[in-house]
Structures are given as structure tokens and as C-alpha cells.
């Protein structure tokens, strides 16, 4: 049988497409939820970083955030995954699905990067915006949430889109902790007959299509945001 026929048999007749679909789902889930966690937590960290620091509490929080960011940016994500799955959560006595652990680690990791992006975004907003809100009597938190952060998100949308693309591609390492993602699914198809050429080419094509779709989506969002505020 030709390698193409082998692939066709595995993929269609023997139901390989089901594995690929569930792998695709895992990839998308980890990246999407990871990014969501990353944006929420990253925004909190960014606000701690730009907060005025007269009192002790913001100073302490700032140090904690610095350590956090240094750890997640200073170690490979695979290592973070391994530590989370084999060391940290077992030590805490928490039993979790590998995919949940992967999502959490991706979220925590992405928060470190998003916090830097978000901080730059917040600093790109004219300080007069915060001043005007505060002068009207709005508390710092409300002013940031209603005025500054929405404007900064618009400024950093392309960069956030890149972060999402990075996350999607990075999910290919989650098979280290036994999650079946897109990459793992295609490898399993190859493993069946030790025929990897076509599965891996397909794999690359699928990633390309996903990334292309995200890029388009981000552009559309940017256009819409530009159109408002007119």
C-alpha cells in the first residue's frame, strides 16, 4: 500500500479523524481558556505594576508579581508543565485531569507575558484619561476598569493576537503530560504504520489554517474597533 493509502485507511476507515478532532478540541480549549486566564490574571498583575506605590501593600504585591513573572518567563513551558503535573498538584494532594493541568499552566504562563503586554498598553493610554476619571470622584479601580483598560486593550489587540497564536502553537508540547492534542493525535496515526510523512504534513497544514483564521479574526476585530469611536 502506498503511504497515502495507509494514511487514508487510518484516518477515515479506522476512525483516526475522531482522534484528530478530539485532539483539535484539546488544543483549542487549552489555548482559549489559557488565554482567558492569562488576560484576567495578566491584567491584575499589570495594574499592580502601574499602581501608585505609596503604601506597603502595593509594594509587597509588586515584589510578588515580579517573582511570578520572572519564574514563568525564565523557565521553559515544558518544565512548568512537568512540575505542575508531576510535582506541584500531587504535592498539594489535588488530582486533576492532565488537560486541566495543561490549561492552568498555560493560563499562568500566559499571564506573565500578557501582564507585560498589558502594562505597555496601559502606559500607552494618555494619563489625562485616568486623571479626568479620578477628578470626577471615581475610585482608582473603577477608573482603570471603565476608562483606561478598555482603551489599552484596543492598543494591544494585535499583540494579544500574537500571544494567542503563540499559545496555539505551544500546545504541541502538552503530550509531555499525556494530553492528546492535535500533534499527539497525528503522531498516533503515524505510529500505527510507522508512516509519518503525510500525517506530519497534514499536521502542519492544520496549524497553518488555525493561525490564519485567528489572524483574520483579529484583523476584523481591529477594523470594528476602529470604526467605533468615530
Amino acid at each position: 500500500m502506498s503511504s497515502w493509502n495507509l494514511f487514508y485507511e487510518r484516518f477515515i476507515t479506522k476512525g483516526g479523524y475522531e482522534t484528530v478532532l478530539s485532539g483539535l478540541l484539546a488544543t483549542v480549549e487549552i489555548a482559549v481558556l489559557g488565554l482567558a486566564i492569562g488576560i484576567l490574571l495578566g491584567t491584575v498583575i499589570a495594574v499592580v505594576k502601574v499602581m501608585p506605590k505609596y503604601n506597603t501593600l502595593p509594594k509587597v504585591l509588586n515584589v510578588i508579581c515580579d517573582i511570578y513573572v520572572a519564574f514563568f518567563r525564565g523557565t521553559p513551558m515544558v518544565v512548568q508543565l512537568l512540575i505542575g503535573y508531576y510535582v506541584l498538584f500531587p504535592a498539594l494532594g489535588i488530582m486533576m485531569d492532565a488537560i486541566v493541568v495543561a490549561t492552568l499552566i498555560f493560563g499562568l504562563n500566559s499571564a506573565a507575558y500578557v501582564s507585560e503586554i498589558m502594562r505597555a498598553g496601559i502606559q500607552s493610554v494618555d494619563p489625562g484619561q485616568l486623571e479626568a476619571a479620578r477628578a470626577l470622584g471615581l475610585p482608582y479601580k473603577t477608573a482603570m476598569l471603565r476608562i483606561v483598560i478598555p482603551q489599552s486593550i484596543k492598543n494591544i489587540l494585535p499583540t494579544l493576537g500574537n500571544e494567542f497564536i503563540v499559545l496555539i502553537k505551544d500546545t504541541s508540547i502538552v503530550s509531555f503530560i499525556a494530553v492528546v492534542d492535535l500533534t499527539k493525535a497525528f503522531r498516533m496515526i503515524g505510529d500505527a504504520n510507522y508512516e509519518y510523512v503525510i500525517p506530519y504534513l497534514f499536521l502542519a497544514a492544520v496549524y497553518l489554517v488555525i493561525v490564519f483564521a485567528i489572524t483574520m479574526g483579529i484583523r476584523a476585530m481591529e477594523r470594528r474597533l476602529k470604526k467605533s469611536e468615530r
Partner: protein
């Protein structure tokens, strides 16, 4: 005793090693219009920004509403609601339409108070302290509708109700500044602070903004205006403060200060700008 709305005593402000304000004393009466003039960098903006604690004073006291707002332990937000501020660069919220700009603070702050009362009532009910329950005077919808009505009323006043739903980026500087002024008015402030409200405007738009401020003055609003428009200061102000080097070097009625300046620095400054 006079009816002072703001009473400033020995106000000092340092930025690191730089002493910007070096002891300012002034009582501002209810309804009084005060113009602040002086050379660039003498601390006019810093003084104005201390009045609502946008800059925290380094020392000294600022009595407002019977409270020393220079004391960092007071909740400044409550007091800022009563002190309107207008900036040189307008600072309209770019991500909000004109009407949203005006409604935002009144709606958020009143809704917050309402929610707080709801929470209190909930716990009062929970612990069966029925006497502690305060009947709610309004609803969130009512707050919004009232704020919208008030916002439209203010926009009509400045002839810009047709701009209610546009974003600030489409407006001229003069329109932006007039909207910034009514945005502050929407909180029904007791005092208005203006920091060079016309300095960023094209000359042909200065008039419309000054006219609006003049109207407010005629209606009896208390105001402190930092300005380079000497003609305007003379016309509107009850009292003019000449600041130099972080102190009030000279003060008096416009006639006293502009026509008979006593200090040498005042004379030099006026000669340069008039």
C-alpha cells in the same frame, strides 16, 4: 466668620527634592471667583491640583466641607464629587460617546451608593433587624434615566445635543472643552477648578469656552481659574492671585492687581504679558 468653602493653610508640595509650593494660605468664599496668574513653572497647576488632591500635599491643610482633605486618611473620592475639574487638554473619555462621558460618573457613583444600601438592607433582613432597613429611594433604571435627562439638559444648554452619540475624536477643541465643563457640572459640584481651560484651543474657539465659564460665574458658581487670559481674569474674577516661586506673591481685586501692582515681580510679569 465668613462663609468659606475652601480654606488652605501653609500648603507645601515637594516633588522629590524640588519644592514647588512653599506655603500657600488662602480662604475661598462661597461664590467667589478667583483667577490665578503667574509665570510658567511657578506652581499654578500644582496648587490647583492640590485643591482636589490630584497631587497629595506634602504638608499643610485644606479644609473643604469641614474636613481636612489634605489628610490622606480621608476618602478623597467623596469630596472630589463636589469639586469639578477642567483640564487644559479636555480629557474627554475617548472610549465613550459624548452622552456617556457626561453620564458615566453620576450613574456609577449613585448606583454604587444604591448597591451599598441594598447590601445593608439584605444583612439587616438576614439578622432580623427590621428597624435598620432603609427604604430605597430609587432604582438603577431611575438613576440612569435621571442622569440621561440631566446630560441632555446640559448638552442643550451648550447647543450640542446633536453630538450626544458621537465619540470625542470627531469634535472640535472648543466643543470638547465645553463638554468637559458640563461633564463636571453633571456632578453638581460646589466648586469648579479650571487649569488653563483655553490654552490648548485655536484662537477662534477661545470665546465660546470663556462665554460658558462666564455664564457659570454669573450663576454664582465658586471657581478657581488658572489662566493666561488677563482680560478674562479682569472681567470675571473677584480676586486675582499672582503666584511666583511657589508662593502667592501678591493678591487683590483685578483693579488693584492689574492697575496698581505693588510688587516688582508682579509689575514685571504684567508688563511682559499685557
Amino acid at each position: 466668620m465668613k462663609d468659606n468653602i475652601i480654606s488652605v493653610k501653609s500648603l507645601c508640595k515637594d516633588f522629590g527634592d524640588i519644592k514647588v509650593l512653599k506655603g500657600i494660605d488662602i480662604d475661598i468664599e462661597n461664590g467667589e471667583k478667583i483667577a490665578v496668574i503667574g509665570p510658567s513653572g511657578c506652581g499654578k497647576s500644582t496648587f490647583l491640583r492640590c485643591l482636589n488632591c490630584m497631587e497629595d500635599p506634602t504638608s499643610g491643610s485644606i479644609m473643604f466641607n469641614g474636613v481636612d482633605i489634605a489628610d490622606t486618611s480621608v476618602d478623597i473620592n467623596i469630596h472630589r464629587e463636589h469639586i469639578g475639574m477642567v483640564f487644559q487638554q479636555f480629557n474627554l473619555f475617548n472610549n465613550k460617546t459624548v452622552i456617556e462621558n457626561i453620564m458615566l460618573a453620576p450613574v456609577l457613583l449613585r448606583t454604587k451608593k444604591l448597591k451599598k444600601q441594598k447590601r445593608k438592607n439584605f444583612f439587616a433582613k438576614l439578622f432580623r433587624k427590621y428597624d435598620k432597613i432603609v427604604e430605597l429611594e430609587t432604582t438603577e433604571d431611575e438613576i440612569k434615566n435621571e442622569a440621561r435627562e440631566r446630560a441632555y439638559e446640559l448638552l442643550r444648554r451648550i447647543g450640542l445635543e446633536d453630538k450626544a452619540d458621537v465619540y470625542p475624536s470627531t469634535l472640535s477643541g472648543g466643543q470638547k472643552q465645553r463638554i468637559a465643563i458640563v461633564r463636571a457640572l453633571a456632578m453638581n459640584p460646589k466648586v469648579m477648578l479650571f487649569d488653563e481651560p483655553t490654552s490648548a484651543l485655536d484662537p477662534e474657539m477661545v470665546g465660546e469656552v470663556l462665554d460658558l465659564i462666564k455664564q457659570l460665574a454669573d450663576e454664582g458658581m465658586t471657581m478657581v481659574i488658572v489662566t493666561h487670559e488677563m482680560g478674562f481674569a479682569r472681567e470675571v474674577a473677584d480676586r486675582v492671585l499672582f503666584m511666583a516661586d511657589g508662593v502667592i506673591a501678591e493678591e487683590g481685586t483685578p483693579a488693584e492687581l492689574f492697575d496698581n501692582p505693588k510688587g516688582e515681580r508682579t509689575r514685571q510679569f504684567l508688563k511682559a504679558v499685557l
